[in-house]
């Protein structure tokens, strides 16, 4: 009986310790974006299968009803709803995707008072050496929700510092 109580106590201490000392919500969100940057960066030409695998992993960071609304100054407009459409978009681009890197140069996170929602603003640098080299800076706003201890992206949209 003593051993069971001791085990329960140790479990309780471990749980409380993790809640107090474990990674906070902001750290978890930053890690999510690091993983997204890594998954979105293509170091070499990839097969359709490899790209599909990357898209699958990236899609897991989005809610099932996620919305992505991109409108870039280059005239590129793209709206996607749901994880399946994210996967389909990547599949449609397929091998046309050039090797390049994606970096979240700045990331500002505002946690909601309920600790279950958050808004993040990021400056994203997309760079490729293909086709003579090309670089674009995009400003994005993300709405995130926390479910079962895990943060996921509910909405992604482009924002512009300069207003016409």
């Amino acid at each position: 009986m003593k051993k069971i109580i001791l085990a329960l106590l140790l479990g309780l201490v471990a749980f409380v310790g993790y809640r107090v000392l474990g990674p906070g919500d902001e750290a978890k969100i930053r890690k999510l974006f690091q993983q997204l940057a890594s998954l979105s960066s293509i170091e070499r030409p990839m097969s359709a299968l490899e790209l599909a695998s990357r898209a699958d992993q990236a899609a897991e960071h989005f809610t099932s009803q996620t919305e992505v609304a991109l409108s870039l100054p280059t005239g590129f407009n793209h709206n996607v709803k749901g994880r399946s459409e994210i996967r389909a978009s990547v599949a449609a681009m397929g091998t046309k995707l050039k090797p390049g890197s994606v970096e979240f140069v700045d990331l500002k996170i505002d946690l909601g008072s309920d600790r279950k929602t958050a808004t993040a603003y990021s400056t994203v640098k997309v760079e490729t050496s293909a086709d003579g080299g090309w670089q674009e800076i995009i400003e994005l706003r993300f709405e995130l929700v926390k479910a079962e201890g895990r943060w996921q992206i509910e909405r992604t949209e482009t924002v512009e510092t300069l207003e016409r």
Binding site: Y121, L162, E163
Partner: protein, 133 residues
Amino acid sequence: MALIPLVAALVCLLPVRKEDDSLTLVFKFSYALSKPARGDLVAISLLAGDNAVFLKRVVALPKETIEIRKGIVHLNGRPLDEPADRRNPGWSMSKTLVGDEEYYVIGDDRQQPIELHRMGRIHFSKIIGKALW
């Protein structure tokens, strides 16, 4: 196009890599005692921070009306004297009123179509400082 500061931690001078890969320095306290003037090249912080910044030229001041007709910027109805290489005859924009504490900024490279060029109104609080060259 935004530009990347090299060492954002420097207190008063922010080294910034320009689009042509050359470097400039931005003096962070340029506007501590005065306000931006027309023609100033200024660094502008983005919504998420200032590890990447815009480097744009101040064209219109607060409360002015800006309009572009065949590449020529008009302020309060009068043409602005700018170098010829900043005039793109394909550019046109209807009248826009610049608000209090706002500035209208445009980049120097105006070769691309106006829709693709990042330009517009910016609040004074987003201006980091003046580029020294």
